[in-house]
């Protein structure tokens, strides 16, 4: 089975894009499944279910969604295998641009909202630099010139990634992306032993385990203080 991880900020168009891709792949006779990782309750699983494909939702709750995914990845893979799927799509939110959920055995797609990213593409960290495919959404509302400027910046951040423009509403570009996914992803037996492409934060402080009080006395564990 081929595993594809899709990461990107909230409301960047991950779900809209994926819906078009899934409908095309089903049309091609493939059998995709979707796992949606979220922090708080979302209704996106219902949208996917309406496409008659195996869907599972994981809520990370109080834990960082990237940590949550890393912990659950092998089991999600097993679930999709049991449903005899050809492709497993894992859609996950990237919240702080600090990490990326990508691994070395998956095809990694990063979704970039052109509207919010053109002003500061350098802020997009490992999510861009460790992706195999960068998909720019909402390019239909920015000028051609800005579209080229943004894709230039992205190609400087990640020279090897394919960059594709997607219109999540009309589906323009999704076929090109779907074919790229079909041709570029590799089938693997399981994800046990695969590696994250970028390490998660090394924080383990009192606040990580539920401390809410502010003050010197409560700053315990591994902390990083600003210098003034």
């Amino acid at each position: 089975m081929n595993t594809i991880i899709i990461g990107g900020g909230p409301s960047s168009g991950k779900t809209s894009m994926l819906l078009h891709i899934i409908s095309y792949m089903t049309h091609c006779g493939l059998k995709p499944s979707v796992c949606k990782i979220d922090c708080i309750k979302s209704n996106d699983d219902l949208i996917y279910k309406s496409m008659n494909i195996p869907v599972i939702q994981g809520l990370s709750d109080s834990i960082c969604p990237d940590h949550f995914l890393a912990t659950n990845l092998p089991d999600i893979f097993m679930w999709s295998t049991k449903n005899s799927c050809t492709h497993l799509f894992i859609e996950t939110a990237g919240l702080c641009n600090r990490c990326a959920p990508f691994t070395d055995k998956t095809l990694n797609i990063c979704v970039i909202d052109s509207m919010s990213s053109i002003k500061s593409p350098e802020k997009l960290g490992p999510l861009v630099t460790t992706a195999d495919i960068i998909s720019m959404t909402k390019t239909d509302v920015i000028s051609q010139a800005e579209r080229e400027v943004l894709s230039y910046h992205l190609s400087k951040l990640n020279p090897t990634a394919e960059i594709i423009c997607i219109n999540g509403l009309s589906g323009f570009g999704s076929q090109t992306l779907a074919n790229l996914i079909i041709n570029k992803s590799n089938s693997i037996e399981d994800l046990e032993g695969s590696k994250l492409k970028y390490p998660m934060p090394s924080a383990n402080c009192a606040y990580c385990v539920g401390e809410i009080r502010i003050g010197k006395d409560y700053q315990q564990g591994m902390i990083n203080k600003m210098s003034f």
């Binding site: 051609q144 010139a145 080229e148 400027v149 230039y152 423009c165 323009f172 570009g173």
Partner: protein, 263 residues
Amino acid sequence: MFNEIQVSGGYDKDGNSEKISYISFERGNVYSIVGKTGSGKTQLIEDIESLNNGEGLTKRIILIDGKLPDEKLRNEYRSGFIAHLSQNMNYILDMPVIEFLKMRQKLKTSKNKNTSPEEILDTANELAGEKIKPHEVLTRLSGGQGRSLMISDVALNNEAPVILIDEIENAGIDKVKALSLLTKKEKITLIITHDPLIALHGNKRIVMQNGGIYSVIDRSEHEKKLAEFLAAFNKKIDITRELIRTGKTLKGVDEFVLHSVLE
């Protein structure tokens, strides 16, 4: 550099072969694509943009000068085979116009022969009503000014061999001038439009129906004359608009006066 793009072998939404199974797009020509919503206009454009090789939904095959495009050609146009221009586009960078054009020029690789930022701005000003000042901020440009700048930029500064113009009829610019500027640059111009004046500007009309290419109509001499008549009519509306915009009253302005202004 190539001369033609050929599209062939497609199927419509019911799986039947398209009525028109072969069509060739040549440089310097304007093709209007017409048809109802859902008739397959966007899909045709996507097939061309992705240089489909028969694997897509429509099974269309795109050939460049009669040959299947190879990896080299695909890479050459990595930044885009089609330059897009649409009514929904806006500038979102809050930078002065001239700074933006300079930055854009710097990003281009040296192999490109570039037009100067000033030249792009001058051309844009030929299309817009109010002149764009070099130090005006992009996001503050009016709808018409922004569109003019986009058109001049695509016409002069873009490498993409194909230009797609998607419904720009209400952009508040000199659309006839804009179209002739784009066609002069030896590009293949595709126009998706519902505006008869713009549709008739194309020397070929591609009619889409049920996902397939239904017919290709060559613009006749009669249609060309009709287009000129409509353009003159349009000009009268433009003149009236300009009078109202500049605070004049329309006292004494009638059909005859408008006609004489035209001549």
